[in-house]
């Protein structure tokens, strides 16, 4: 990488511009490849588009900026502990509006840490929940016919359907 800049500008799929520091952008494999291939300098007018909507991109960049120092230099145990707490707070978001978009974005941007965190968050939201709670959290409609429901009841007699 021959970049002389500390931050680059990217476009969201909605066409909004966002700044992301080079060290934070490195958390994404495709962005890192781009940084290696393209010479970014102050007079470079090329603005890459990231196929992620603005609302999601803000969150993704926030995550990258927070995690970049640790990813680049390693961190002490207390830092790791603090970061874990931050992750939990960061992930408190609406499932439909944002969590699913984060999952797709992290997958698309090859961001292992965020992808793992988002998958675990989604899994934790399902663990220990009742069937109707899962439907509510994930905005899912019960699309079984009453006949199919009866069949499922017979299959899992000990399972609560509420």
């Amino acid at each position: 990488m021959s970049s002389s800049v500390e931050a680059i500008t990217v476009l969201s799929s909605d066409g909004d511009e966002f700044k992301i520091t080079v060290s934070a952008a490195k958390l994404s494999k495709p962005l890192n490849w781009m940084l290696e291939d393209v010479c970014f300098s102050d007079d470079c007018d090329e603005v890459p588009t990231i196929e992620v909507n603005s609302k999601t991109l803000v969150k993704v960049i926030e995550y990258c900026e927070k995690h970049a120092p640790r990813a680049n230099s390693g961190a002490s145990d207390s830092d790791a502990e603090e970061l874990k707490k931050w992750d939990i707070e960061f992930m408190k978001m609406d499932v439909k509006d944002i969590l699913f978009h984060i999952l797709m974005a992290a997958n698309y941007l090859h961001m292992e840490g965020l992808y793992d965190l988002a998958c675990q968050t989604a899994a934790d939201l399902m663990k220990g929940m009742t069937v109707s709670q899962i439907r509510k959290i994930f905005h899912i409609k019960n699309d079984f016919s009453s006949e199919e429901q009866e069949q499922l009841r017979r299959q899992h007699p000990g399972c609560s359907f509420d």
Binding site: L103, A123, M126, R135, N142, F144, Q151, H156
Partner: protein, 391 residues
Amino acid sequence: MFGDLPPEILGEILHRLPVKSLVKCTIVCKHLNSFITDQTFIFDHLNQTIQASSGNGWLFLQLYLRTRHLVPYIHHEEFYSLYSHNQQIDQFSFKKFPLSGLLRSYNHSTVVGTCDGLVCITDSQIYHMATLLIWNPSIRKYMIIFEPILTSDTGNGQHKGYQPLYGFGFDSKNKDYKVIRLVALLDKEIVPQVEVFSLASRSWRSIPFRASPFLLPDLFWNIPQVFLNGVVHWVVSRRCDDHILNFILTFDVVEETFGELTLPQLLRESTTELSILEGGDSLCVLHALYVEDDCFFSIWVMKEYGVVGSWNEVYCWDSHLYKGITTVLDLCADGKVVLLLYSGDVVLLDPVTEVVKSLTGQKWFHAFAGSYVESLVFIKREPDLLSYEFT
């Protein structure tokens, strides 16, 4: 909503859930139901669970309660338990899984083996065939296997005493679970008749026995088997001039062929009880050794599978230890050993620290222990899969 996610992302989320939560998810909506009950997901989930639990999996126990009745076989109580012996939590979650009296027609039931979270049980190995059952305790479903081809009436309708030998394993090529049944006359070195039950086709099929005849040990209990590396193993013997030679009979579940593995010298010619044991990823043999009035239990491990020179005696316990060892039930993947003691207690022994932990706290007179993993096999609805309520 889950339908909007690419399958690889949905899979990644669902793989993180325990079986109990996944069963619940099949009730949430059609999309989750068809995703979770799909063969690909079932086997991916199983492989991930096996990998994640490597070295500290679960333990399946079958226990018979001691009774004061004159005919203990009829009045016994039977329990099945699952233990998670995860070292991190250092706690045992104890669950009882009651099963109907399906398998109690003559005698106690015998666990043939465990494989991928499925437990194969027969009602008796001494009398003539009756019922076989394949059970997934994690999702509370089981199926009864129909009568095999070879029963006591096979042949000229003559009633002959025979000993069946059972094995249970997974055919990785055809993604099929199979029960193998060898039927041989007691005390006679003959060519056994062999049949295989395929879970995928739900049927028994006779296959030829292309190996040298052998003699079954004359045990009035079950002959243990171990399924490892795609192969079922039993310890059997053969008469050679004036003495008996013990060896390991093998059955390749994919190829459906028989083979043999040689035992170390000491075990080959031993006249005392030998039985095959699970030992994590290795094949083990338990040897009960009598020296005058004392009994010793030694455990031999085949460190490199198939290499005769790699047999090693790893443990030897005086049966008087721990207030009396009745037998060794299992070697766990984490190195711990499951023992049945004279007192009737089933304990977990850490051979390094010699710490003994009681698993059952009750007095049992027989126990089976085998490795276990939570699995979704049987989650898909099939007409012959039966469910029971957990009480």
